[in-house]
């Protein structure tokens, strides 16, 4: 069985977000890039499947050469090879179209992505790819089991979860719950050594101009916090009710 795990390389979640070039570009200076957290759950799930079912796991990412260290980490975690589609990855449609070209030419039984990336939060790449390559697709997955030639997939929805059965192949978009946080794979020394000699191939890309980014800005800073004495909870309730009118 062949599994593709599409990953996005995003700023570490503790990063302070700043912009440069007159607020038109994200300021990467001093930023540590990581595997997008939602994708990391998917990657770990793929490695679990590989351990049980002899699968081949290929990580695929659209990005510039700076993301290769993140791809090496994915290889150290246990992926067999990596593909970097060389592109600035400026928006979701551009990323999705480039991924679609690769995923249409190379057949996979299962394609795993994260529900959304921690930077641009689009959450649309998987759906666009699914349409472009004509596959079924389930979002917000919190469970995945293989059952013969089908997958049993559990997804989150408003007010609950739903379990469905879909024939292979399928695209799923995972999140926390697909595997537990405590079970996330961390690279060990042997994995890191092996990752150095695993294949990382670079493919050419195309550019698409559906969306143009104009500028970024940050939410205005909050005023000082108004402290209320713990013996005076009634005052807080009065403020929330009469002044803020939110109760």
């Amino acid at each position: 069985m062949k599994i593709a795990v599409c990953i996005s390389c995003v700023p570490d979640t503790t990063s302070k977000i700043n912009f440069t070039e007159n607020n038109t570009e994200f300021n990467k200076e001093g930023i540590q890039f990581i595997i997008n957290p939602n994708d990391e759950f998917g990657l770990t799930k793929a490695i679990f499947i590989k351990e049980q079912n002899q699968a081949e796991v290929i990580v695929v990412s659209v990005g510039e050469s700076s993301i290769e260290s993140v791809l090496r980490k994915a290889l150290a975690i246990g992926a067999d090879s990596a593909i970097r589609i060389d592109n600035k990855a400026k928006d979701s449609i551009c990323v999705a179209k480039n991924l679609s070209s690769y995923l249409a030419e190379n057949k996979f039984d299962l394609i795993i992505m994260g529900k959304e990336s921690a930077d641009y939060n689009g959450g649309i790449v998987h759906g666009i790819v699914a349409e472009n390559i004509g596959m079924q697709f389930v979002n917000a997955c919190v469970g995945l089991e293989i059952s013969d030639d089908s997958y049993i997939i559990e997804r989150e929805m408003e007010g609950g979860t739903e379990k469905v059965k879909i024939k292979s192949p399928v695209i799923i978009a995972g999140q926390k719950g697909l595997v537990e946080e405590k079970d996330l794979k961390i690279p060990n020394m042997r994995g890191i050594m092996q990752a150095r000699s695993k294949p990382l191939n670079v493919l050419e890309s195309e550019n698409f101009d559906f969306i143009q980014s104009i500028e970024f800005n940050k939410p205005s800073e909050n005023k000082e916090c108004v402290f209320i004495d713990e013996e005076n909870v009634a005052e807080l309730v009065k403020i929330l009710n009469e002044k803020e009118k939110v109760l």
């Binding site: 302070k16 977000i17 939602n38 979701s92 449609i93 999705a96 921690a118 930077d119 641009y120 939060n121 689009g122 959450g123 649309i124 759906g127 666009i128 699914a130 349409e131 079924q136 389930v138 979002n139 917000a140 989150e156 929805m157 408003e158 007010g159 609950g160 979860t161 739903e162 379990k163 469905v164 059965k165 879909i166 024939k167 926390k176 946080e181 405590k182 101009d209 559906f210 969306i211 980014s213 104009i214 500028e215 970024f216 800005n217 940050k218 939410p219 916090c225 108004v226 402290f227 209320i228 004495d229 713990e230 909870v233 807080l236 309730v237 009065k238 929330l240 803020e244 939110v246 109760l247």
Partner: protein
């Protein structure tokens, strides 16, 4: 020109997010003299359907329901409608199902798609929109180069507005030929939906253990609020993952957010900082949540929350 808005229902009931999408679309249509078409499933009662008119729907197309997990049938149905009606702009609330079918639809139509949109467009030709990025740590202004566009609204960002209009109904029959077999659905009963709740009561490790969540649930109940939690609390299994708010969980934007025993890591704040009013309750006066909160009480949740419940019950009676 025509705009299409999908008013999603859950077991025959529309939610606030559906009305928000309808009133957003109506205001946009009125400002620009566009025709607005509302699409919904025909599993709703007449009384429920009439609610749509209060938020601005007039031409409503109803169709037989499609399994929401079946994004292929959903996107095909909307795409077929597009051909009949020459629709150029689509408005969806960001729900679990629209996040599956809307990107598919954009690929079918070769359109642009904008997610986490928080305001009406600042221009229509070209379409210019403001959207949330970096888990609410920033906004991006983006412009479309396409003739067709899909706007996905961030819940609780525009709000609901009332308009007066009369409903004109027409029916459509849709074929759905799904290859997806639904095995079961598990519902978390009677809870307020976290993403669109007006008030969220959220708690962290300061609650010391899952057995103490009765207090949080009681406060939430008397406020008709949704309950939420911090990442460590869902990681150690005190609360379900679906309650985790923050950068790697859900992003919420309620009118009022209570952070009880949550220190306020940057990843947590990112998921909640669009809330209109934030109240922090923490024993540690240095907790970083106090830097983000509008109101704060330094004190033990086990003392403060019961008083809060009592005072809220007083004003509610």
């Amino acid at each position: 020109m025509k705009i299409l808005v999908f008013a999603e229902n859950w077991d025959g009931i529309f939610k606030k997010s559906s009305f928000e999408a309808v009133s957003y679309s109506r205001e946009l249509a009125e400002q620009n003299n566009y025709e607005l078409i509302t699409l919904c499933f025909n599993n709703v009662s007449e009384e429920e359907l009439n609610k749509l008119s209060k938020y601005g729907s007039s031409i409503v197309i109803t169709t037989n329901p499609i399994d929401k997990v079946d994004s292929i049938s959903m996107s095909k149905m909307i795409s077929d409608l597009t051909i009949q009606h020459d629709i150029k702009l689509f408005i969806f609330s960001s729900t679990y199902s629209s996040k599956m079918f809307a990107p598919r639809l954009s690929a079918k139509l070769n359109s642009s798609i904008f997610t986490n949109v928080v305001e009406l467009p600042s221009s229509l030709n070209p379409l210019k929109l403001k959207k949330k990025v970096f888990s609410s740590k920033a906004f991006e202004i983006a412009k479309s180069s396409s003739e067709k566009n899909i706007i996905m609204l961030h819940p609780n960002s525009y709000g609901v507005k009332e308009f007066s209009s009369d409903l004109k109904l027409s029916e459509l029959t849709t074929e759905s030929n799904t290859e997806i077999e639904i095995i079961n659905i598990k519902k978390s009963s009677g809870k307020v939906n976290l993403s669109e709740a007006d008030i969220v009561v959220s708690a962290g490790r300061g609650m010391k253990g899952p057995e103490n969540w009765d207090l949080i649930e009681e406060l939430a109940n008397c406020l008709n609020a949704a309950t939420a939690c911090s990442k460590p609390v869902s990681d150690i299994g005190w609360r379900p993952h679906s309650e985790h708010v923050g950068q790697t969980g859900k992003t919420v934007a309620p009118n009022l957010y209570f952070a009880i025993g949550i220190s306020g890591a940057i990843q947590h704040l990112a998921g909640v900082n669009s809330s209109k009013v934030m109240v922090a309750i923490n024993t540690d006066p240095e907790a970083s949540f106090f830097k983000a909160a509008h109101y704060g009480i330094v004190g033990d949740a086990f003392d403060v929350v019961p008083k809060l419940i009592e005072e809220i019950k007083n004003i509610k009676n």
